[in-house]
């Protein structure tokens, strides 16, 4: 489903210099599987999520990334979204003045239009969002507020998953969705993610800690260090990391 081959990516820093971050990353996530990426801070996990979704300033300088056979690097962010690529942001963005409900309806209908599907009517949409909000314990009151404005870290993460439930993407990238969540919220959010597990859907779960993977059991765990995947294995790899830390991989990657 998602195929990444020897991907190299650089960002432009604030002083206008090119900084290589991904240095030959390869990864395949077949439909129906959940893969976890674990790695120390600064190893390039968020960079991977941005280059996959097409953020400005993240330039592919080598290798390839395809989604269901389509070359992603040629597509605009909104085109990738319409293909079904969804990023749950590590730091969800505040959009003052745009109510969450309005935003989500715009997004859903824009994606549907791009795929040649009919728009969802206002009553249909309200029914859909009520149902999903209930599932995630989000009040309708919160949905009327501007996107992420004044929400706590945990509420923002909850909203990211709510948006995924409404948009039903084919592939989800969760970038540190567990950070900022207390135990109860972690459970609710994980239940939301697990509800989206399906044979036709892939997921890439980026995390720093084992604890999210206690709730969302991955099929494969990858360890990322210094812009590359340095080791892959089963769920037990995450447990091993928890016990031993990243130190031994940092040496290998340098």
């Amino acid at each position: 489903m998602l195929n990444i081959e020897n991907l190299h990516c650089q960002v432009e820093t604030q002083d206008g210099e090119e900084k290589p971050i991904l240095k030959g990353l390869s990864l395949d996530v077949p439909a129906g599987e959940v893969h976890a990426i674990m790695g120390p801070n600064g190893s390039g996990k968020s960079t991977l999520s941005y280059v996959l979704t097409g953020r400005d300033g993240y330039e592919v300088t080598g290798g390839s990334m395809t989604f269901e056979g389509e070359d992603l690097s040629e597509l605009e962010p909104e085109e990738r979204a319409a293909l079904g690529l969804y990023l749950s942001f590590q730091y969800p963005v505040e959009i003052p003045g745009v109510p969450t409900i309005t935003f989500l309806k715009e997004a859903l209908n824009a994606q549907r239009t791009a795929r040649g599907e009919d728009e969802v009517s206002a009553p249909e949409f309200m029914k859909l969002i009520r149902e999903k909000a209930k599932q995630l314990g989000v009040s309708m009151d919160m949905l009327k507020r501007p996107v992420n404005v004044g929400f706590s870290g945990g509420e923002k993460k909850r909203m990211e998953i709510l948006q995924a439930l409404v948009l039903e993407p084919k592939f989800m990238i969760l970038d540190e969705t567990d950070s900022g969540l207390d135990i109860d919220a972690l459970k609710t959010v994980s239940d939301g993610v697990n509800a989206l597990r399906a044979p036709e859907r892939g997921m890439l779960v980026i995390t720093h800690y084992q604890r999210l993977l206690d709730h969302i059991t991955p099929d494969v765990v990858h360890i990322m260090a210094n812009g590359k995947i340095v080791k892959s294995g089963g769920p037990e790899l995450a447990k091993e990391l928890e016990a031993e830390g990243y130190d031994k991989y940092l040496g290998e990657a340098a």
Binding site: T53, G54, R55, D56, E76, P77, E78, R80, A81, A82, Y86, L87, F89, P92, V93, E94, I95, P96, G97, V98, F103, L104, E106, A107, L108, A110, Q111, A114, P146, Q163, L167
Partner: protein, 340 residues
């Protein structure tokens, strides 16, 4: 002053158009004859060079004003259409809002290509009167349109003004308010949205002459490449105007590096016990928010329009009349979708 001012064709056309005029129009004619049209050398026009903007005007034109026959009584809704044809023209009117009356005044301006239109309104609000003044300046033909108003409030009077300006070759909305304090309230709001080669100038002076006056002002704008926005706001607080509470904010968004926005917020305070503040902030579109919206599938132009609309709409949200509020917001939305 030298006696050898050489008039431009536009100045000659305006002087000609106002031959035999009286009142404000006679003053305009005399000022034009004596000094010419204002240029960047005039402090109040330093970012809006009228002489240059009018350099395609060669003949007298006509200014048509509709709606003046509506009686100014409590509950009145007055719709003025002010249209400047090609060429130099002027018109003026005066209105008195009777004591205790509440009146809505809507002014819709348009100026044809190669127009230099001058519109002046003198408004008096008697005691406890309320005026909601709404100004809409669309830009279809991109002429020059100068609106100026002298508004005087009596005790307890409330003025709520909102302008929506899409600019023109040069569009200027100038408002002078005399604020007596004593329970009177002045609430000025404005929005400008400028596509390329559009110029809009919002100039206001609020003169506080008596104690305890409240003034609030919020102007928001956005300019695309080669759009030029100007904000000049001045609060004058006389020594007699103790306990004045006056706040001015201008916030604008440069949609491109080649946009130009000039702002001069000014406080001139002679009283010592007042609360006065002004703020001015220029920014750009939030690229992070733009990416977030696109990641959710909203196409870039639509995402941009939504972000700009949510930034600009605030002053319009306070328009009391719902039909008018929705009308202005719809116009803003339409214009945003067409933005280059």
């Amino acid at each position: 002053m030298t006696a050898t001012l050489t008039h431009t064709p536009a100045e000659l056309a305006l002087i000609d158009a106002l031959d035999g005029a009286t009142g404000w129009q006679a003053q305009l004619r005399e000022a034009t004859r004596r000094d010419g049209l204002p240029t960047r050398r005039h402090e109040l026009w330093k970012w809006s060079d009228l002489r240059r903007a009018a350099n395609d005007v060669t003949a007298p034109g006509r200014m048509t004003v509709t709606g003046l026959e509506t009686p100014v009584t409590d509950g009145a809704h007055i719709e003025l259409g002010v249209t400047a044809s090609t060429g130099a023209s002027a018109a003026d009117a005066s209105l008195v809002i009777p004591a205790g009356a509440s009146v809505t005044l809507v002014e819709r301006y348009s100026a044809e290509a190669a127009a230099l239109g001058n519109w002046h309104l003198a408004i008096t609000l008697e005691e406890n009167a309320r005026l909601d003044r709404i100004i809409i300046a669309p830009d279809e033909a991109a002429g020059v349109f100068i609106s100026s108003a002298e508004i005087t409030l009596a005790q307890g009077a409330h003025l709520h003004q909102r302008s929506l300006d899409f600019g023109g070759r040069l569009s200027r909305i100038e408002t002078h308010v005399t604020h007596p304090g004593e329970g009177a309230l002045v609430d000025l709001g404005g929005v400008y949205l400028l596509d390329s080669d559009r110029h809009a100038d919002t100039t206001t002076v609020v003169h506080h002459t008596g104690p305890g006056g409240v003034t609030q002002q919020l102007v928001k704008g956005a300019a695309a490449a080669k759009g030029h926005g100007v904000f000049q706001g001045k609060f004058i607080v006389d020594r007699a105007a103790q306990q004045t509470d006056a706040r001015m904010t201008h916030r604008a968004m440069m949609l491109d590096d080649r946009a130009e926005i000039d702002a001069k917020p000014e406080l001139e305070i002679y009283a010592d016990d007042v609360q006065c503040a002004h703020g001015n902030a220029l920014g750009a579109l939030d690229e992070t928010a733009l990416f977030y919206m696109r990641q959710r599938g909203i196409p870039a132009p639509r995402a941009r329009a939504l972000l700009i609309e949510s930034f600009l709409a605030e002053p319009l949200d306070a328009i009391a009349d719902e039909t008018l509020r929705e009308d202005l917001k719809a116009q803003l939305r339409t214009r945003l979708e067409a933005l280059s």
